[in-house]
Amino acid sequence: MTISEIKEKTMNRIRESKGTVFLTFIMAMVLVSPLWAGEPYKKIDAVTLQKYKGWLDDPRPLTKELPYSKILPAEVYAKLTWDIPTMKKAWADVVGFAAPDAVGKIAPEIKPGKYSYKDMETKAGLKELVIPYFRDHFFKPAGPPLIGNFSEMTLIPTRQLYFQLPVSQATKKNAGKTKLDDKGYIIDRSYEAGIPFPKPSGKFKAQQVVYNWVKRYWEAESSDSVGQFKGFNRHLKMDFDGLIEIKTLNLAGRCVIPPFGYLDERARQRKEASAVLLTYLAPRDQYGTALNVLTYEAADAFDLNTLYINSLRRLRKLSATDSQDALGGQDIIMDDNNGFGKLCSTRNPYKLEILAEREYLVPFTTDGSLYFSSKGMELKNVELERRPMYVIKMTQLDKNYVYSYRIAYFDQETFILYHIENYDQKGRLYRTNTSFTTFVPEMGMTTQRTVISRDHVDLHSSLALPFITPIVHLKRSDVGLEGLVGKGK
């Protein structure tokens, strides 16, 4: 054989073996990479979650079945838990009261215990304590056209709720620093960390309450969540079945998980507030779609929304101003996601006024046993608790906005938004959002367990069942371009 023949034969062999080499490379990646790439810790995915609590006809107490002490590594759990009495005292000092002392003034005869919707007819006090919307649309027998009615509930004793100890400390340290301008909007860079207005008062009291929600610390400064979403038509037939993974990272006002203040210099210079990465796992035609939302602190700054479209395998810039169209299959718009969109004097501005400061019965699920029954999609094991509340009317000043006003119910002790009603430009009740939360005492954390969204015009309703896991290792790259491409199909 001549040298050229040997060369030709060798080159042919190489060409023929390219496919084999390529496949071998793939297999090597699969086998070798786990040897030296580390994984932080076990995450709760949808299938695992389903083992502990199904979404229908499952009364198991999720909070007891799957406590954070079981999920988080010991060292992480230790970082996110504090002494309960210390947290209670610290927060009571900051807000000036504890909820159990602030309730019981209205209908004191209504004691903790089990009640049915029929009791509202015989017990005037109970009727007065129930939020008006709940009286008319929730606390009643189950049935079409909307899911989530409940005919019975347990009235639980009022608890003192609070935040993580570092949040109390940051709130106290920065008290008085956050300033509002003459229209009631936060002045840039005046807010540092903590709840900005722990004792709302004065001309802009309503604004202060709302900003306390905007700068909230519920759930965690960084979290990895899985959420089931299901939509139902007016006949209570499921018409949307979705599953989402959500990673959230606070970029400013950090006080629980270091680094504190801004996450990094980039966040400080660019005044970034938070970053969220949503990855759609279901339904099938949305599998592998990922949405990255970067929000800014400045009121007039538009969010940066980037979408990875699974079907095109491409990145797409979304307009941040597209916030009033209903999100596919669901009963919320983008602006409803955090309650009401951004507070801004130049874009969809609101006039805020406090309608009431009083106690109402607010929904919770202390042990996570709340569940939907297949019979009429009724909510079972509902717990209501007397809470001191702010009822705030947010009147939209732009007549072209989808809503004319919103009625929002904020907790006076934690400023958490539990329920909001949105009315269209004709004054009709349009959409509502109601959160059923769980409070984790040792972590000073309130987390959503069930969210019911309803469209009273189209007669469509949906439920969300998020499970949020606070994590400490989330990085900017996890919720930026790298994360977006990595999570996409």
């Binding site: 390529f22 389903q50 599953l243 307009s319 101003t321």
Partner: protein, 535 residues
């Protein structure tokens, strides 16, 4: 693959994956989530052309079934395995197997190309593993890489070939884009200039494991099937009754070359129309596995001032071949209606294709208007400059090299029109495209199918009703250079979270015979599709 085998696989799949809650198709394998999803669609199309035309059927034209299955497994948070497969079959080849018109017009002969897609790379769509260690995203396997900002046509999106054999109706992305064996590596540096919000470098290598390029709509009913273009040729005269050896079908334009007595005799013969049929192509292409078929591409992705900007480069082979007439004369056959079918003899090859380009997109917030719903338009730009692209000079019948510039501008604007839809927005997406060929000769139509400047516009309008369940859409593509149009009207309905229905219509017209969409003038059709999805 035989019909029976296809049916068996399809039946097994449907039996195994019974409809149920979303999690019935999610399992734990080794304690990690493993999901299976898919869909099955059954479509059909009916001609809207009233008259009997040689390149279409008057009634049902296609009965396309797609069975798509995909699987995803994440053994670790930074390792993802994904695979998908598709079975595609057009049952019209069985339903019209004995149909006289179907056979006479030659559609039955296209069965070998369009009945069932049974090449391995058609059955196996994607199969890849993705590894995402910190700052990296590495994907190896049969995959899709999507570039660009345009919709409805491709400009910078040249990594993967397309399968366009099934036409322009409601085709799913999964059934048109062809995944290829690629190694894609992306690097996201931890440190970047403060004025850059994000940054990524992407490198793609195509090792040419299997040579796969665009699968276009082919000429000739016997190859291209129901979507074969209708292109007329010159009139002929059939002089075979004269009994002169070698004298058969002669183009009327060539009669002057005959001796005068024969010319006189020919004058009494009737003209016979002709059409361009399937071509006999001698195609030079790289072998699978050869280095000459390898491709390299790179992209820098960045976000600056809330704008997404990419810089792109590609070196490889064009997804389309370029052809010219071969030395041999065209082959002639006779159609059932008596027309002459001219089968061009072509020689072709896949030329090298090299370009540098860029894309840009951002929303133009100053243009948002409250009375229109308050949404700002999103601007999308895409362009590339290609060096020494190969074209076919139809005057000299030579392959020539010229640089070219292509660019497109698009806008997505969501507006509220309460009179037409009080609840949801309308999305209006116009696009403008130009291809400019540099150093074009003095002849206006020097290159086959292309002028010096070629223009196209598109317009897409869509909205939704009934809580996003009913989605009407309108799409218009205008080939401005050839003065031709393609319209698609469609209505989609989500009956439930698993059942989806589509009905639509496509129409074509053109003023320049044999150019642009004019070749599809007999393809106007009504189509429908039923989909069932799971997972």
């Amino acid at each position: 693959m035989s019909t029976k085998l296809f049916l068996a696989v399809a039946l097994l799949t449907l039996v195994f994956f019974q409809p149920g809650p979303a999690f019935s198709e999610e399992f734990l394998v080794g304690g990690k989530p493993f999901s299976i999803m898919g869909y099955v669609t059954q479509g059909g199309a009916v001609s809207l052309v009233e008259k009997n035309k040689p390149d279409t059927e008057r009634d049902f034209q296609s009965a396309l079934t797609n069975l798509f299955l995909e699987m995803a497994y994440k053994p670790r948070d930074d390792i993802k395995l994904y695979g998908s497969g598709m079975l595609t079959a057009d049952w019209m080849y069985d339903l019209k197997h004995n149909d006289r018109s179907w056979k006479d017009k030659g559609f039955a002969d296209s069965r070998k190309n369009l009945y069932i897609d049974d090449q391995y790379w058609q059955l196996l769509k994607e199969a890849h593993v993705t590894w995402t260690p910190p700052n990296w995203n590495i994907r190896a396997g049969k995959q899709i890489v999507g570039w660009g900002e345009t919709d409805g046509f491709r400009l910078i999106d040249q990594i993967n070939p397309l399968d366009q054999r099934r036409g322009f109706a409601d085709v799913e992305f999964e059934s048109t884009i062809i995944p290829t064996w690629l190694l894609k590596t992306e690097y996201f540096p931890a440190h970047k200039p403060m004025w850059m919000q994000d940054l990524g470098f992407e490198f793609i290598f195509n090792p040419n494991v299997t040579w796969i390029k665009n699968q276009p709509i082919e000429l000739g009913n016997d190859v291209g099937g129901i979507w074969a273009p209708y292109v007329t040729g010159p009139d002929f005269k059939d002089l075979s009754p004269l009994g002169v050896p070698g004298l058969g079908f002669i183009p009327t334009g060539a009669l002057g070359a005959l001796p005068p007595p024969l010319q006189a005799a020919a004058a009494s013969f009737p003209n016979v129309a002709s059409r361009i049929g399937s071509a006999d192509v001698t195609l030079d292409r790289p072998r699978s596995g050869s280095t000459t078929g390898m491709e390299y591409a790179g992209r820098i992705k960045t976000i600056i001032a809330d704008s997404i900007i990419t810089l792109n480069g590609f070196y490889g082979r064009s997804n389309d071949y370029v052809s010219r007439s071969a030395a041999a004369p065209p082959r002639m056959t006779t159609a059932e209606d008596g027309a002459v079918i001219i089968h061009p003899q072509l020689e072709a090859f896949y030329p090298y294709f090299k370009f540098v380009g860029a894309t840009f997109s951002r929303d133009i917030t100053p243009l948002k208007a409250s009375f229109l719903g308050g949404v700002a338009p999103v601007l999308r730009l895409e362009t590339f400059y290609a060096f020494n692209s190969t074209f076919s000079n139809q005057i000299t019948n030579e392959f020539v090299k010229k640089d070219e510039l292509r660019y497109a501008i698009g806008v997505d604007w969501k507006v509220k029109i309460p009179l037409l839809n009080p609840r949801a927005y309308f999305t209006i997406s116009p696009q403008f495209y130009q291809q400019k060929i540099m150093s074009y000769g003095s002849e206006r139509k020097e290159l086959a199918g292309l002028y010096e400047n070629n223009y196209m516009t598109t317009l897409m309008i869509t909205t939704s009703y009934l809580h996003n369940k009913l989605v009407p859409s309108f799409f218009w593509m205008r080939d401005r250079t050839n003065k031709a149009n393609f319209f698609r009207y469609q209505l989609g309905y989500d009956y439930s979270n698993v059942w989806h229905f589509v009905i639509g219509a496509t129409t074509f017209d053109g003023t320049k015979e044999g150019q642009g969409f004019d070749v599809f003038q007999n393809k106007d059709q009504l189509y429908f599709k039923v989909s069932y999805k799971w997972g």
